[in-house]
Amino acid sequence: MLPIQPQAVQELLDKLKNQELYLHLELTNGAYTFEKDRSKLVASNLIRNVKVSYSNGSISGVGPYRVGLKMPEGWIYAEGLTHYEETEPERAILAGNDNDGKLVVSLMLSPEPF
């Protein structure tokens, strides 16, 4: 993965629009958060391989980045994205990794299930 280049990600989002895609959307602060600091809340979510289609998708911000995807009847949104997989031209593999290299947010779209 490389630090996000917004134009490259935008081109990919344009290429993937208006077709059936499998979505992976994940947000996590880690299962050990509470064990390390009792004032913290362990929170995470995961949507994996749910079929979606969007008509407008864009990347925004100056880094970390935001991505919003407009669907016929709703939205998909992720904030905190830092890296993209430059070797995957047919699917979007985006992640927000913190300075320790730990994933916090993941947004992935693919014509085939993950």
């Binding site: 993965m1 299962a31 995961l46 992640a95 990794n97 300075n99």
Partner: protein, 223 residues
């Protein structure tokens, strides 16, 4: 001496700090050891900075690390059961318990090493221990293997008392260090990565003993 030791954990790397020395000890005694790993840890958070993997490639990286860890310990029978990371507590119980029951029937272990069903911090850890306990508890008492559990959640000693099984692994520190080092995507801040030899006092003090609680089953099988 044990007949066969079965290790059941949900993630590649769960074995390193908990049972790697004990597994090496049993292998040294000539006891076969099987490691059943429920998931590939595909939702692991550590991808590195700069990243060495992404959400798609991480399970392959972690499978390689699992194999390297087992090679370091000497375990040759590794079973990847193919469940999804973080979802063990939500898995179809018939499917999950059925896979474990099949393994126990096939291997006939005299000892199972797993997590405590309540004091193991990560939901997958607890759910893994709970599944093992359900399956063993359903067996006739005379057929049940011993179950030794790892526990480390805050308050576990208050709830469980002190551990009743302590395995001296001084002779197997190399294997343990090898196992920890094999999971380099997961552990990278440990002193073992600072090049300390296996018998350095710091390493010995921290790692020379592995402790377990003997899980106490009811005397009558549960339905």
């Amino acid at each position: 001496m044990e007949r066969h030791v079965l290790i059941v954990f949900p993630h590649p790397d769960d074995e390193s700090y908990t049972v790697s020395g004990t597994a090496a000890y049993h292998l040294h005694n000539g006891t076969p050891v099987t490691y059943a790993c429920l998931t590939m840890g595909q939702l692991g958070r550590n991808l590195g900075n700069p990243p060495f993997a992404n959400r798609v490639t991480l399970p392959t990286v972690r499978r390689g690390e699992l194999e390297a860890s087992c090679a370091a310990i000497g375990i040759t029978d590794v079973r990847a059961l193919g469940f999804h990371d973080k979802m063990i507590e939500f898995e179809d119980r018939e499917l999950l318990d059925g896979k474990l029951r099949e393994l126990i029937e096939e291997l006939n272990p005299s000892l199972i090493l797993t997590f405590h069903p309540e004091y193991s911090v990560h939901p997958d850890h607890d759910a893994c221990g709970a599944a093992v306990v359900r399956v063993v508890e359903a067996m006739k008492p005379k057929d049940r293997p011993k179950v030794h559990v790892v526990a480390f959640a805050k308050g576990h000693e208050r709830a469980l008392g002190p551990a009743d099984v302590h395995v001296d692994i001084t002779l197997f520190l190399e294997q343990k260090i090898g196992s920890i080092k094999a999971h380099k995507s997961q552990f990278h801040t440990d002193p073992v990565f600072e090049g300390l030899p296996a018998h350095h006092p710091t390493i010995r003090e921290r790692f020379a003993s592995e402790k377990f609680w003997t899980y106490k089953f009811d005397t009558h099988p549960k339905k």
